[in-house]
């Protein structure tokens, strides 16, 4: 009892200190983000975060033209959705034998997959560029979609297998005894049961592809085919020094889908840990 009386005030001051430290760290993390939001509504935006003066939606109006925003955002959508779709289909197919049959080669394959997640593939865009030149795939959406899909596959297969492992096998056994084939069991029984998991994998891959800058920056040279990540960068190069407000407005528009999808994935999986948790060894 006496000890409690002694420690309580100490606890309270410790709590105060830790709250102060937390708030301070929070402010440091917030400051760079705040600039994007404030500058996008600012009629006289600079590189400093400041209250918009005058407050205006002009930046959005100027940016929201077909060639500035809609076409690049449409290109981003095409690339990311294509990549996420290919990745999810291929990963779910691959996850089925890995999850359901205990074959020795599966082990090797899974270790290979984990090894693949560690390779800095995006850091080696130079040989990727050479490969795309020799296959004549520069500016080709199918080629870039397949490449993006291949780079996200190791992680996607790993996630899909873990989600599939938690689907009980007993229902499938019934289907098997009824003579159902492997593919129809997968499509009719397993996939519906792991729908939230598939959603998480799809969104995870989509967010990564949507945000990817380096890959389209290297592999797309055609102005009309550039996704938003690259066109924002060229916008920065061309008008950045004079139109920070428009740059920030475009950046904000381009970030909103990612934030929305992240909130959705939290709903689907019940926690912000979903994306990081999938990567835990």
């Amino acid at each position: 009892m006496a000890a409690e009386g002694l420690t309580a005030p100490r606890h309270r001051s410790l709590r105060l200190v830790s709250t102060l430290v937390l708030v301070l760290i929070g402010i440091c993390f917030l400051l760079p983000l705040v600039w994007v939001v404030l500058a996008s509504f600012d009629g006289s935006a600079t590189l400093t975060a400041k209250a918009p003066s005058p407050f205006t939606l002009d930046n959005f109006v100027k940016v929201l033209t077909p060639e500035n925003a809609w076409i690049p955002l449409g290109n981003s959508l095409l690339l990311s959705a294509g990549c996420a779709l290919v990745t999810v289909v291929v990963a779910v197919l691959a996850a089925y034998p890995l999850s359901r049959y205990s074959v020795r080669s599966n082990r090797a394959f899974l270790y290979g997959i984990l090894f693949g997640t560690g390779l800095p593939i995006t850091a080696m865009m130079v040989p990727v560029y050479s490969l795309f030149v020799s296959l004549d795939l520069l500016n080709s959406y199918p080629g870039i979609i397949l490449f993006l899909a291949a780079t996200s596959l190791p992680m996607a297969i790993w996630m899909a297998k873990n989600f599939m492992d938690s689907v009980p096998i007993s229902i499938e056994e019934a289907a098997w005894t009824d003579g159902s084939s492997m593919l129809s069991t997968l499509g009719r029984i397993v996939v519906p049961l792991m729908r939230p998991g598939i959603g998480v994998v799809f969104i995870f891959v989509f967010i990564q592809a949507w945000g990817n800058f380096f890959v389209p920056f290297i592999l797309i040279t055609d102005q009309a085919a550039m996704p938003a990540a690259v066109s924002i960068y060229s916008f920065f190069g061309a008008y950045g020094a004079v139109a920070y407000g428009q740059l920030a407005a475009f950046s904000l528009l381009y970030s909103v889908p990612v934030l929305a999808l992240y909130l959705l994935v939290q709903r689907l999986s019940g926690g912000s840990f979903a994306l990081a948790g999938a990567v835990k060894g």
Partner: protein, 310 residues
């Protein structure tokens, strides 16, 4: 992550075809793997093979050599090691890894995970939302935000100016410090999430009984919490190192590798050599080195941690 034991299918669909050879069955069971294997072979192993081959030729981006590249053996690597820019870039990359990933993201991430347990709910939600926000942003937007923060007329110098300090031109005078801090800002959320989950898995009875025995908060952290989450720590160290090894956009947008090559880590240098100086062979040789370093880290990770595959 402990995956549930992979269930065997003892009465699988094929018990009625007992006569079939085992290998045939294994093959048909592996068919769904085929699309994945093909994709990985062409677009993941393809660039790797291309990298090793390209690093041994004198291919360049433009000019006569572009058409007919010749086999030059290890000449690219010899030239690379002789060029003072390369060892400098290795040093910069190491500093970037050590200070932004190993120390910055991991220590700050663990600290945040611990502090967030004590904070009140609004503080907790607010701070973790902001930290995760920096992480979930598309990389090009995060890079612009970091650029604006550290720019000469940026937010940081305005704040310093408000308290009477004339801030330097961070991106020009301290490019490495700027990109290291920016990468800590960008990547800490991942470590924070991993460590929060790991600490949540520590049974509260253990820390409580230590508290009853009179262990101070610091002792409980060093003697109980950290040893109990050591697996997460080593996993996270490895993953953040690998992620940081491939950071390109943040540095490219903030400093362009400059001034000169003062912030050219290996991925940026590979890009500069290949696309700015038209030395495709050089760029490819750097990619091979990055690949080998990444592979080494991956193998250490797999051997040391033996993640449960089934």
């Amino acid at each position: 992550m402990v995956a549930p034991e992979a269930p065997l299918a003892p009465n699988g669909p094929r018990t009625d075809r007992r006569g079939r050879r085992r290998t045939g069955r294994a093959l048909s069971r592996s068919t769904p793997l085929l699309p994945a294997v093909v994709l990985l072979a062409v677009f993941l192993i393809g660039p790797i093979v291309q990298a090793f081959y390209g690093a041994l030729t004198n291919s360049s981006l433009t000019g006569s050599a572009a058409q007919e590249s010749e086999f030059v053996g290890l000449q690219n690597f010899a030239d690379l090691f002789a060029d003072p820019v390369f060892p400098k870039s290795v040093l910069l990359t190491t500093a970037f890894l050590v200070f932004s990933a190993i120390i910055g993201q991991n220590v700050l991430g663990l600290g945040l995970a611990l502090l967030l347990r004590t904070g009140s709910r609004p503080v907790r939600v607010g701070v973790s939302t902001v930290v995760v926000g920096a992480w979930i942003m598309p990389e090009i937007v995060a890079s612009f935000a970091a650029y604006a923060f550290f720019a000469e007329e940026g937010t940081l110098n305005s704040i310093l100016g408000a308290v009477g300090i004339a801030g330097p031109s961070w991106l020009y005078s301290f490019p490495m410090l700027s990109v290291i801090l920016a990468n800590v800002w960008r990547g800490t959320a991942f470590s924070m999430l991993v460590y929060s989950a790991a600490i949540n898995d520590v049974p509260p009875e253990i820390t409580e009984s230590a508290e009853v025995d009179g262990a101070t908060g610091w002792q409980r952290l060093i003697r109980i919490t950290i040893p109990m989450i050591r697996r997460s720590i080593s996993t996270n160290l490895m993953l953040t190192t690998l992620q940081t090894l491939s950071v390109f956009t943040l540095i490219y947008v903030m400093t362009g590798g400059g001034p000169g090559t003062n912030s050219s880590t290996l991925p940026v240098l590979a890009y500069q050599e290949a696309f700015s100086f038209s030395q495709l062979g050089f760029g490819t040789a750097i990619a091979v080195i990055l690949l080998l370093v990444g592979a080494l880290f991956s193998i250490i990770y797999l051997r040391a941690l033996k993640p449960e595959v089934d």
